[in-house]
Subunit: 230 residues, 2 copies
């Protein structure tokens, strides 16, 4: 019996995870779409983006998981409204938008879902080099996590964590997304706003830089795109 | 400056995690108590036990985290009420009470809390040999998870995962808990009931076997303790 393999795809609503999930689809997996509402500032908008993206993937299952405890923990500008989102440009070191071990938590929950459905792969859209410098986006970490996951689940559960974007630049991501018909107009990256992207938070800056370097216009609207430069 | 080191202790309300947290306290850590409500059958009773145990530890922080999504995932007799909790005795293999990657999820959230507070250690009361055979209780797995965690968090975050009970038998756990004045009367192990422990689920059987072998009477009440044997 030949069964189509399944992949749990973590889809935030941003550009990277949308491409990552599209690659899973193109590689022949049936998609189990997974989104987290974790009290982040743009939660509503990201959920909307997730739903639109998931529709284009013909996902066989879709999980929208509420993680209210992130606000209880706080310790990040994304989940604690009393900490400002920086808009002055990307700085060295781990920024205040870092949410402690977010990807560790996301991958662990994704593992539980994958184990339930007998999935073979987890797709996560982490980017290491051309990124904000979050420690839980490092390839090294994800590889180690994969080993841990396979030791901590049933013997018949064998999961590969795929991170097809980890070594890509933002410009390469834009180009690859266009090539694969990823609906970039549905994606949302801004850390701050839910109506019009601010253009100046780290996430908007990285995204805009990618489009500029790829020589393509970003289909979404910005409040202040002129200030974003490399 | 000499600062007392901090440990995040995962405390379920059961005997094992109560002893594990007491060992952390005895080893000189300040305790950050952590409990999860994950829609398990005996959630209310376990939370009550957690609070009583935590009080005896003079915890500097206490987190009660709601994880409603475990019911959304299901796939376990503990979180899906349509799957019966077995009462016929412990069998070979991974039982239906296994909750997919539960300890992976718990450890990941514990890591986020530890990183926030600058804690040095995580204590978890896993038992490998004398247990139900859950894959996420294996020493091997936890060691690998520790490596992953330290790669996926900030460079200044260095966490040791301590599992002082991993190689102990249930009888040794009972004896050690008594020696250290762990309030066993407050602990709850039964998978099924919240009023009087059933005595026949795997968790009651393991607990009762421990007391019997240690030659001590369990201070909690059982509905049917006579059926539980080694």
């Amino acid at each position: 019996m030949n069964v189509t393999p399944k992949a749990v795809c973590i889809i935030s609503g941003g550009m990277d995870s949308a491409l990552s999930a599209k690659i899973a689809k193109d590689e022949g997996y049936e998609i189990i779409a997974l989104h987290f509402n974790y009290g982040q500032r743009t939660q509503k908008k990201e959920l909307e983006s997730f739903r639109k993206i998931t529709k284009t993937l013909d996902a066989i299952e879709s999980y929208e998981i509420d993680l209210d405890f992130f606000e209880q923990i706080g310790a990040s500008a994304l989940t604690d409204k009393s900490i400002e989102v920086p808009t002055g440009g990307i700085e060295e070191g781990v920024p205040v938008t870092y949410v402690p071990f977010r990807n560790g938590i996301f991958l662990s929950i994704a593992t539980a879902i994958a184990e339930k459905h007998g999935a073979q792969a987890l797709y996560i859209g982490v980017v290491e080099e051309d990124s904000s410098g979050y420690p839980d986006c490092r390839e090294n970490y994800i590889k180690q996590m994969e080993r841990a996951i396979n030791l901590g689940t049933k013997d018949e559960t064998n999961l590969e964590i795929k991170m097809p974007l980890v070594a890509m630049s933002k410009a390469e991501i834009v180009a690859e997304a266009l090539k694969r018909n990823v609906p970039l107009q549905f994606t949302w990256s801004c850390y701050k706003n839910e109506d019009v992207a601010c253009g100046v938070c780290d996430s908007c800056r990285l995204r805009l830089k990618g489009f500029t370097k790829a020589g393509v216009k970003d289909p979404i609207e910005y409040a202040d795109s002129l200030t974003a430069e490399d």
